[in-house]
Protein backbone atom coordinates (compact mmCIF):
# COMPACT_ATOMS: atom_id res chain seq x y z
CA UNK A 1 0.00 0.00 0.00
CA UNK A 2 1.30 3.41 -0.91
CA UNK A 3 1.12 5.63 2.13
CA UNK A 4 2.84 8.98 1.97
CA UNK A 5 1.26 10.21 5.19
CA UNK A 6 3.63 10.59 8.13
CA UNK A 7 2.42 11.20 11.66
CA UNK A 8 4.50 14.17 12.69
CA UNK A 9 6.13 17.32 11.38
CA UNK A 10 9.41 15.96 12.69
CA UNK A 11 9.08 12.86 10.52
CA UNK A 12 8.05 14.98 7.56
CA UNK A 13 11.26 17.03 7.54
CA UNK A 14 13.55 14.41 9.05
CA UNK A 15 15.97 13.96 6.17
CA UNK A 16 16.47 17.49 4.88
CA UNK A 17 20.21 17.87 4.74
CA UNK A 18 22.64 20.69 5.37
CA UNK A 19 23.17 22.62 2.17
CA UNK A 20 19.83 21.61 0.67
CA UNK A 21 17.96 23.80 -1.79
CA UNK A 22 14.53 24.25 -0.24
CA UNK A 23 11.61 25.75 -2.13
CA UNK A 24 9.03 27.29 0.18
CA UNK A 25 5.50 27.81 -1.10
CA UNK A 26 3.29 30.73 -0.30
CA UNK A 27 2.70 34.23 -1.53
CA UNK A 28 3.03 36.50 1.43
CA UNK A 29 1.39 34.56 4.25
CA UNK A 30 -1.15 32.74 2.07
CA UNK A 31 -0.08 29.17 1.50
CA UNK A 32 3.04 29.58 3.61
CA UNK A 33 3.97 26.22 5.24
CA UNK A 34 4.74 27.87 8.55
CA UNK A 35 4.57 24.72 10.69
CA UNK A 36 6.93 22.84 8.35
CA UNK A 37 9.41 25.71 8.60
CA UNK A 38 9.24 25.57 12.39
CA UNK A 39 9.82 21.83 12.27
CA UNK A 40 12.81 22.47 10.03
CA UNK A 41 14.25 24.83 12.64
CA UNK A 42 13.91 22.08 15.24
CA UNK A 43 15.44 19.57 12.83
CA UNK A 44 18.54 21.69 12.54
CA UNK A 45 19.52 21.64 8.86
CA UNK A 46 21.72 24.60 7.99
CA UNK A 47 23.49 26.29 5.11
CA UNK A 48 20.23 26.17 3.18
CA UNK A 49 19.40 27.87 -0.08
CA UNK A 50 15.79 28.94 0.03
CA UNK A 51 13.61 29.62 -3.00
CA UNK A 52 10.55 31.69 -2.08
CA UNK A 53 8.66 34.62 -3.49
CA UNK A 54 9.16 36.73 -0.38
CA UNK A 55 11.78 36.75 2.32
CA UNK A 56 9.61 36.33 5.38
CA UNK A 57 7.55 38.57 7.59
CA UNK A 58 7.82 39.20 11.33
CA UNK A 59 9.65 36.55 13.30
CA UNK A 60 7.81 33.33 12.41
CA UNK A 61 8.00 30.85 9.55
CA UNK A 62 10.58 31.75 6.94
CA UNK A 63 11.73 34.74 8.97
CA UNK A 64 12.32 32.48 11.99
CA UNK A 65 14.37 30.05 9.90
CA UNK A 66 16.37 32.99 8.63
CA UNK A 67 16.80 34.48 12.09
CA UNK A 68 18.04 31.10 13.33
CA UNK A 69 20.91 31.49 10.86
CA UNK A 70 20.06 28.47 8.74
CA UNK A 71 19.76 30.22 5.40
CA UNK A 72 22.86 30.96 3.37
CA UNK A 73 21.13 32.27 0.27
CA UNK A 74 17.66 33.27 -0.75
CA UNK A 75 16.35 33.23 -4.32
CA UNK A 76 13.26 35.40 -4.52
CA UNK A 77 11.41 38.10 -6.40
CA UNK A 78 10.35 40.46 -3.64
CA UNK A 79 12.47 40.23 -0.49
CA UNK A 80 11.35 43.44 1.10
CA UNK A 81 7.77 43.94 2.11
CA UNK A 82 5.93 45.23 5.12
CA UNK A 83 7.45 43.40 8.05
CA UNK A 84 10.50 41.81 6.39
CA UNK A 85 12.55 42.98 9.35
CA UNK A 86 14.73 39.90 9.72
CA UNK A 87 15.69 39.83 6.07
CA UNK A 88 16.57 43.51 6.04
CA UNK A 89 18.76 43.29 9.08
CA UNK A 90 20.59 40.15 7.97
CA UNK A 91 21.01 41.25 4.37
CA UNK A 92 22.41 44.61 5.47
CA UNK A 93 24.79 42.76 7.78
CA UNK A 94 26.05 40.65 4.89
CA UNK A 95 24.76 37.45 6.44
CA UNK A 96 22.55 36.49 3.53
CA UNK A 97 23.16 36.08 -0.17
CA UNK A 98 20.34 37.26 -2.43
CA UNK A 99 19.50 36.19 -5.98
CA UNK A 100 16.77 38.45 -7.26
CA UNK A 101 14.57 36.88 -9.94
CA UNK A 102 11.51 38.34 -11.66
CA UNK A 103 8.44 36.63 -10.25
CA UNK A 104 7.34 35.06 -13.53
CA UNK A 105 10.85 33.95 -14.35
CA UNK A 106 10.99 32.36 -10.90
CA UNK A 107 7.77 30.41 -11.52
CA UNK A 108 8.85 29.44 -15.03
CA UNK A 109 12.34 28.35 -13.95
CA UNK A 110 10.73 26.09 -11.34
CA UNK A 111 8.31 24.63 -13.87
CA UNK A 112 11.17 24.14 -16.33
CA UNK A 113 13.06 22.13 -13.73
CA UNK A 114 9.98 19.99 -13.28
CA UNK A 115 9.57 19.58 -17.03
CA UNK A 116 13.11 18.49 -17.86
CA UNK A 117 13.83 21.78 -19.64
CA UNK A 118 17.34 22.92 -18.65
CA UNK A 119 16.95 26.40 -20.13
CA UNK A 120 14.48 28.59 -22.01
CA UNK A 121 14.33 32.02 -23.59
CA UNK A 122 12.16 34.80 -22.21
CA UNK A 123 11.69 38.50 -22.95
CA UNK A 124 11.42 39.31 -19.22
CA UNK A 125 14.48 41.14 -18.01
CA UNK A 126 15.94 41.98 -21.43
CA UNK A 127 17.61 45.38 -21.32
CA UNK A 128 17.72 45.44 -17.52
CA UNK A 129 20.41 44.79 -14.98
CA UNK A 130 18.83 41.45 -14.09
CA UNK A 131 19.98 40.23 -17.52
CA UNK A 132 23.62 41.14 -16.85
CA UNK A 133 25.90 38.20 -17.50
CA UNK A 134 23.18 36.18 -19.15
CA UNK A 135 23.03 35.09 -22.77
CA UNK A 136 20.81 37.36 -24.85
CA UNK A 137 19.68 36.10 -28.23
CA UNK A 138 17.64 37.54 -31.04
CA UNK A 139 14.87 35.26 -32.23
CA UNK A 140 12.63 36.41 -35.07
CA UNK A 141 13.75 39.97 -34.59
CA UNK A 142 13.17 40.25 -30.85
CA UNK A 143 15.64 39.90 -28.01
CA UNK A 144 15.36 37.26 -25.32
CA UNK A 145 17.39 36.27 -22.31
CA UNK A 146 18.30 32.65 -21.61
CA UNK A 147 17.10 31.53 -18.19
CA UNK A 148 18.09 28.28 -16.48
CA UNK A 149 15.90 25.74 -14.76
CA UNK A 150 15.73 26.06 -10.99
CA UNK A 151 15.53 22.61 -9.41
CA UNK A 152 15.08 22.12 -5.69
CA UNK A 153 16.03 19.29 -3.37
CA UNK A 154 12.93 19.79 -1.27
CA UNK A 155 9.68 21.70 -1.56
CA UNK A 156 7.67 22.63 1.51
CA UNK A 157 4.06 23.40 0.67
CA UNK A 158 0.68 23.88 2.31
CA UNK A 159 -2.27 22.15 0.67
CA UNK A 160 -5.96 22.00 1.43
CA UNK A 161 -6.77 18.30 1.14
CA UNK A 162 -4.49 15.36 0.48
CA UNK A 163 -4.83 11.58 0.27
CA UNK A 164 -2.34 8.80 1.02
CA UNK A 165 -1.10 8.81 -2.61
CA UNK A 166 -0.18 12.48 -2.19
CA UNK A 167 -2.92 13.83 -4.44
CA UNK A 168 -3.76 17.32 -3.27
CA UNK A 169 -6.08 20.25 -3.71
CA UNK A 170 -5.53 23.89 -2.86
CA UNK A 171 -7.76 26.58 -1.40
CA UNK A 172 -8.11 29.71 -3.55
CA UNK A 173 -5.00 31.89 -3.62
CA UNK A 174 -3.19 29.38 -1.42
CA UNK A 175 -2.26 27.59 -4.66
CA UNK A 176 0.30 30.11 -5.96
CA UNK A 177 3.88 28.75 -6.03
CA UNK A 178 3.14 25.36 -4.49
CA UNK A 179 2.42 23.70 -7.81
CA UNK A 180 5.55 24.67 -9.76
CA UNK A 181 7.68 24.12 -6.66
CA UNK A 182 6.32 20.60 -6.19
CA UNK A 183 7.17 19.91 -9.83
CA UNK A 184 10.70 21.24 -9.38
CA UNK A 185 11.62 19.36 -6.22
CA UNK A 186 13.06 15.89 -5.83
CA UNK A 187 11.11 15.62 -2.59
CA UNK A 188 7.91 17.52 -1.90
CA UNK A 189 6.60 17.67 1.64
CA UNK A 190 3.03 18.85 2.02
CA UNK A 191 1.19 19.91 5.15
CA UNK A 192 -2.52 19.33 4.61
CA UNK A 193 -5.50 21.02 6.24
CA UNK A 194 -7.36 17.78 5.74
CA UNK A 195 -6.44 14.18 5.03
CA UNK A 196 -9.00 12.47 2.83
CA UNK A 197 -9.62 8.82 1.96
CA UNK A 198 -8.09 7.59 -1.27
CA UNK A 199 -10.71 7.88 -3.99
CA UNK A 200 -12.63 10.79 -2.49
CA UNK A 201 -10.91 13.47 -4.56
CA UNK A 202 -12.55 13.88 -7.98
CA UNK A 203 -9.93 12.80 -10.57
CA UNK A 204 -10.94 15.78 -12.73
CA UNK A 205 -10.28 18.14 -9.85
CA UNK A 206 -7.05 17.00 -8.27
CA UNK A 207 -4.87 20.12 -8.46
CA UNK A 208 -1.54 18.51 -7.70
CA UNK A 209 -1.20 14.84 -8.71
CA UNK A 210 0.47 12.59 -6.16
CA UNK A 211 3.45 11.97 -8.43
CA UNK A 212 4.70 15.40 -7.32
CA UNK A 213 4.13 14.83 -3.59
CA UNK A 214 6.33 12.53 -1.54
CA UNK A 215 5.28 13.08 2.04
CA UNK A 216 2.13 14.42 3.69
CA UNK A 217 1.58 15.58 7.26
CA UNK A 218 -1.76 16.65 8.70
CA UNK A 219 -2.02 20.25 9.84
CA UNK A 220 -2.95 19.14 13.36
CA UNK A 221 -0.19 16.55 13.80
CA UNK A 222 0.76 16.27 17.50
CA UNK A 223 3.99 18.22 17.20
CA UNK A 224 2.36 21.16 15.46
CA UNK A 225 4.07 24.36 16.42
CA UNK A 226 2.57 27.29 14.63
CA UNK A 227 4.31 30.02 16.58
CA UNK A 228 8.01 30.22 17.09
CA UNK A 229 9.76 30.23 19.41
Amino acid sequence: MINKIVDSYAAAVADIRDGAVVAVGGFGEVGMPTELLHALIEQGAKDLTVIANNAGVGHTGLAALMEAGRIRKIICSFPRSGGSVVFEKMYAAGKLELELVPQGTLAERLRAAGAGIPAFYTPTGVGTKLAHGKEVREIDGKEYVLERALPADVALIRVWQADRWGNATFMLSGRNFAHPMAMAARQTIAMAHGITELGTLDPDHVHLPGIFVHRVVALDAPDRRSHYP
Binding site: V30, L100, E108, K129, H179
Partner: protein, 224 residues
Amino acid sequence: MTEPQPLSRKAMAARAAADIPEGWYVNLGIGMPTMVADYVPLEREVVFHSENGILGVGPAPAKGQENPWLVNAGKQPITLRPGASICHHADSFLMIRGGHLDLCILGAFEVAMNGDLANWATSENDTAPGVGGAMDLAAGAKRIWVLMEHTTKDGRPKLVRSCGYPLTAPRVVKRVYTNLAVLDVAGEGFVVREILDGLSFESLQARTDAPLSRAPDLRTLAAH
Protein backbone atom coordinates in the same frame (compact mmCIF):
# COMPACT_ATOMS: atom_id res chain seq x y z
CA MET B 1 -1.87 83.51 -12.26
CA THR B 2 -2.45 80.72 -9.77
CA GLU B 3 -1.89 77.17 -10.90
CA PRO B 4 -4.89 74.86 -10.90
CA GLN B 5 -5.22 72.04 -8.38
CA PRO B 6 -3.70 68.79 -9.73
CA LEU B 7 -5.91 65.73 -9.89
CA SER B 8 -6.25 63.75 -6.66
CA ARG B 9 -5.07 60.14 -6.64
CA LYS B 10 -8.67 59.03 -6.81
CA ALA B 11 -9.36 61.26 -9.79
CA MET B 12 -6.25 59.93 -11.55
CA ALA B 13 -7.41 56.36 -11.00
CA ALA B 14 -10.87 57.26 -12.26
CA ARG B 15 -9.44 58.93 -15.36
CA ALA B 16 -7.45 55.81 -16.31
CA ALA B 17 -10.44 53.59 -15.51
CA ALA B 18 -12.58 55.49 -18.01
CA ASP B 19 -10.39 54.29 -20.88
CA ILE B 20 -10.68 50.57 -20.19
CA PRO B 21 -13.23 48.96 -22.49
CA GLU B 22 -15.47 46.10 -21.51
CA GLY B 23 -14.01 42.66 -22.05
CA TRP B 24 -10.38 43.51 -21.46
CA TYR B 25 -8.18 41.37 -19.24
CA VAL B 26 -6.29 43.81 -17.02
CA ASN B 27 -3.60 43.62 -14.38
CA LEU B 28 -3.26 46.51 -11.97
CA GLY B 29 0.05 47.20 -10.27
CA ILE B 30 0.42 47.58 -6.54
CA GLY B 31 -0.45 50.97 -5.06
CA MET B 32 -2.37 53.63 -6.98
CA PRO B 33 -3.01 51.40 -10.03
CA THR B 34 -4.96 48.99 -7.81
CA MET B 35 -7.40 51.84 -7.13
CA VAL B 36 -8.37 51.91 -10.82
CA ALA B 37 -10.68 48.92 -10.31
CA ASP B 38 -12.83 50.97 -7.94
CA TYR B 39 -13.79 53.22 -10.86
CA VAL B 40 -14.77 50.54 -13.34
CA PRO B 41 -18.47 49.84 -12.72
CA LEU B 42 -19.24 46.12 -12.29
CA GLU B 43 -21.68 46.25 -15.18
CA ARG B 44 -18.83 47.20 -17.50
CA GLU B 45 -17.25 43.76 -17.32
CA VAL B 46 -13.49 44.07 -17.13
CA VAL B 47 -11.63 40.98 -15.92
CA PHE B 48 -8.97 41.91 -13.41
CA HIS B 49 -5.99 39.61 -13.04
CA SER B 50 -3.78 39.29 -10.00
CA GLU B 51 -0.27 37.79 -10.30
CA ASN B 52 -0.93 35.27 -7.56
CA GLY B 53 -3.22 33.23 -9.80
CA ILE B 54 -6.51 35.08 -9.80
CA LEU B 55 -8.62 36.03 -12.77
CA GLY B 56 -11.81 37.94 -11.98
CA VAL B 57 -10.85 39.98 -8.92
CA GLY B 58 -13.91 41.67 -7.41
CA PRO B 59 -14.31 44.62 -5.04
CA ALA B 60 -12.66 44.70 -1.63
CA PRO B 61 -14.62 42.74 0.99
CA ALA B 62 -16.65 44.46 3.66
CA LYS B 63 -14.88 44.80 7.00
CA GLY B 64 -15.06 41.48 8.82
CA GLN B 65 -15.87 39.58 5.62
CA GLU B 66 -12.25 39.02 4.60
CA ASN B 67 -11.33 35.50 3.45
CA PRO B 68 -7.77 34.75 4.62
CA TRP B 69 -7.27 32.53 1.54
CA LEU B 70 -8.04 35.32 -0.86
CA VAL B 71 -5.56 38.15 -1.36
CA ASN B 72 -4.27 40.10 -4.34
CA ALA B 73 -0.68 40.73 -5.43
CA GLY B 74 -0.44 43.48 -2.82
CA LYS B 75 -1.52 40.95 -0.16
CA GLN B 76 -4.75 42.88 0.43
CA PRO B 77 -7.98 40.94 1.00
CA ILE B 78 -10.18 40.75 -2.09
CA THR B 79 -13.33 39.09 -3.33
CA LEU B 80 -13.95 37.08 -6.46
CA ARG B 81 -16.68 38.01 -8.88
CA PRO B 82 -18.87 35.47 -10.69
CA GLY B 83 -16.76 34.01 -13.50
CA ALA B 84 -13.54 34.12 -11.50
CA SER B 85 -10.97 31.33 -11.64
CA ILE B 86 -7.82 30.37 -9.79
CA CYS B 87 -4.60 29.01 -11.25
CA HIS B 88 -1.07 28.39 -10.04
CA HIS B 89 1.79 30.84 -10.34
CA ALA B 90 3.34 29.39 -13.48
CA ASP B 91 0.01 29.55 -15.33
CA SER B 92 -0.70 33.00 -13.92
CA PHE B 93 2.57 34.32 -15.32
CA LEU B 94 1.97 32.42 -18.53
CA MET B 95 -1.04 34.70 -18.93
CA ILE B 96 1.20 37.71 -18.35
CA ARG B 97 4.26 36.65 -20.32
CA GLY B 98 2.34 35.07 -23.17
CA GLY B 99 0.65 38.32 -24.13
CA HIS B 100 -2.81 37.32 -22.94
CA LEU B 101 -3.45 40.47 -20.88
CA ASP B 102 -4.86 43.37 -22.86
CA LEU B 103 -3.51 45.89 -20.45
CA CYS B 104 -1.35 46.39 -17.42
CA ILE B 105 -1.40 49.65 -15.48
CA LEU B 106 1.74 50.24 -13.45
CA GLY B 107 3.20 52.92 -11.28
CA ALA B 108 6.63 54.30 -12.19
CA PHE B 109 9.61 56.27 -10.98
CA GLU B 110 10.36 57.41 -14.51
CA VAL B 111 9.03 56.95 -18.02
CA ALA B 112 11.23 57.88 -20.96
CA MET B 113 9.97 59.32 -24.23
CA ASN B 114 10.89 56.10 -26.04
CA GLY B 115 8.68 54.11 -23.67
CA ASP B 116 11.42 52.91 -21.34
CA LEU B 117 10.00 52.12 -17.92
CA ALA B 118 11.82 52.44 -14.57
CA ASN B 119 9.66 51.35 -11.67
CA TRP B 120 11.47 48.78 -9.56
CA ALA B 121 14.67 50.24 -8.14
CA THR B 122 15.61 53.79 -7.43
CA SER B 123 19.35 53.46 -7.85
CA GLU B 124 21.95 51.01 -9.05
CA ASN B 125 23.05 50.65 -5.44
CA ASP B 126 19.69 50.06 -3.81
CA THR B 127 20.49 47.55 -1.12
CA ALA B 128 17.78 44.96 -1.73
CA PRO B 129 15.17 46.04 -4.22
CA GLY B 130 12.25 43.80 -4.96
CA VAL B 131 11.34 43.28 -8.58
CA GLY B 132 8.22 41.18 -8.03
CA GLY B 133 6.24 40.77 -11.23
CA ALA B 134 7.08 44.20 -12.65
CA MET B 135 9.47 43.01 -15.36
CA ASP B 136 7.15 40.19 -16.40
CA LEU B 137 4.19 42.54 -16.69
CA ALA B 138 6.19 45.23 -18.47
CA ALA B 139 7.57 42.78 -21.02
CA GLY B 140 4.46 40.65 -21.41
CA ALA B 141 1.21 42.59 -21.44
CA LYS B 142 -0.19 43.79 -24.77
CA ARG B 143 -0.28 47.40 -23.52
CA ILE B 144 1.44 49.17 -20.65
CA TRP B 145 -0.09 52.31 -19.22
CA VAL B 146 1.57 54.15 -16.39
CA LEU B 147 -0.31 55.93 -13.63
CA MET B 148 1.88 58.30 -11.62
CA GLU B 149 2.32 61.84 -10.34
CA HIS B 150 3.75 64.11 -13.01
CA THR B 151 6.76 65.00 -10.87
CA THR B 152 8.44 63.73 -7.74
CA LYS B 153 7.55 65.23 -4.38
CA ASP B 154 10.45 67.64 -4.71
CA GLY B 155 9.36 68.69 -8.18
CA ARG B 156 11.70 66.72 -10.44
CA PRO B 157 10.17 65.52 -13.73
CA LYS B 158 9.27 61.84 -14.03
CA LEU B 159 8.61 62.01 -17.78
CA VAL B 160 12.16 62.09 -19.03
CA ARG B 161 14.30 61.98 -22.15
CA SER B 162 16.13 58.99 -20.80
CA CYS B 163 15.68 57.06 -17.57
CA GLY B 164 18.26 57.58 -14.85
CA TYR B 165 16.96 54.73 -12.72
CA PRO B 166 17.43 51.05 -13.58
CA LEU B 167 15.03 49.93 -16.29
CA THR B 168 12.16 47.54 -15.76
CA ALA B 169 11.80 47.08 -19.50
CA PRO B 170 12.81 49.07 -22.55
CA ARG B 171 10.26 50.68 -24.92
CA VAL B 172 7.06 49.29 -23.45
CA VAL B 173 4.97 52.19 -22.14
CA LYS B 174 2.23 53.38 -24.48
CA ARG B 175 0.44 55.97 -22.36
CA VAL B 176 0.91 57.86 -19.11
CA TYR B 177 -1.82 59.20 -16.83
CA THR B 178 -0.52 61.83 -14.42
CA ASN B 179 -2.14 64.31 -12.07
CA LEU B 180 -1.59 66.98 -14.73
CA ALA B 181 -2.08 65.29 -18.08
CA VAL B 182 -2.70 62.26 -20.23
CA LEU B 183 0.20 61.65 -22.58
CA ASP B 184 1.13 59.17 -25.28
CA VAL B 185 4.68 57.95 -25.74
CA ALA B 186 5.88 59.22 -29.11
CA GLY B 187 9.52 58.23 -29.42
CA GLU B 188 10.96 61.74 -29.69
CA GLY B 189 8.81 63.08 -26.87
CA PHE B 190 5.32 62.78 -25.45
CA VAL B 191 2.10 63.79 -27.15
CA VAL B 192 -0.26 65.56 -24.75
CA ARG B 193 -3.79 64.28 -25.26
CA GLU B 194 -5.37 65.95 -22.25
CA ILE B 195 -4.15 68.72 -20.02
CA LEU B 196 -5.42 69.83 -16.64
CA ASP B 197 -8.00 72.58 -16.92
CA GLY B 198 -6.31 75.93 -16.38
CA LEU B 199 -2.75 74.60 -16.75
CA SER B 200 -0.79 76.13 -19.59
CA PHE B 201 1.06 73.92 -22.03
CA GLU B 202 4.24 75.80 -21.13
CA SER B 203 3.76 75.05 -17.42
CA LEU B 204 3.32 71.39 -18.24
CA GLN B 205 6.47 71.44 -20.39
CA ALA B 206 8.35 73.10 -17.55
CA ARG B 207 7.55 70.11 -15.35
CA THR B 208 8.54 67.60 -17.99
CA ASP B 209 12.07 66.72 -19.02
CA ALA B 210 11.14 65.29 -22.43
CA PRO B 211 9.74 67.49 -25.18
CA LEU B 212 5.96 67.66 -25.42
CA SER B 213 3.73 68.19 -28.42
CA ARG B 214 0.01 68.83 -28.67
CA ALA B 215 -2.35 66.15 -29.92
CA PRO B 216 -4.47 67.47 -32.82
CA ASP B 217 -7.53 67.06 -30.62
CA LEU B 218 -5.92 68.17 -27.36
CA ARG B 219 -8.58 68.21 -24.68
CA THR B 220 -9.07 69.25 -21.11
CA LEU B 221 -8.33 66.69 -18.42
CA ALA B 222 -11.31 66.37 -16.14
CA ALA B 223 -12.16 63.98 -13.38
CA HIS B 224 -14.45 61.16 -14.50
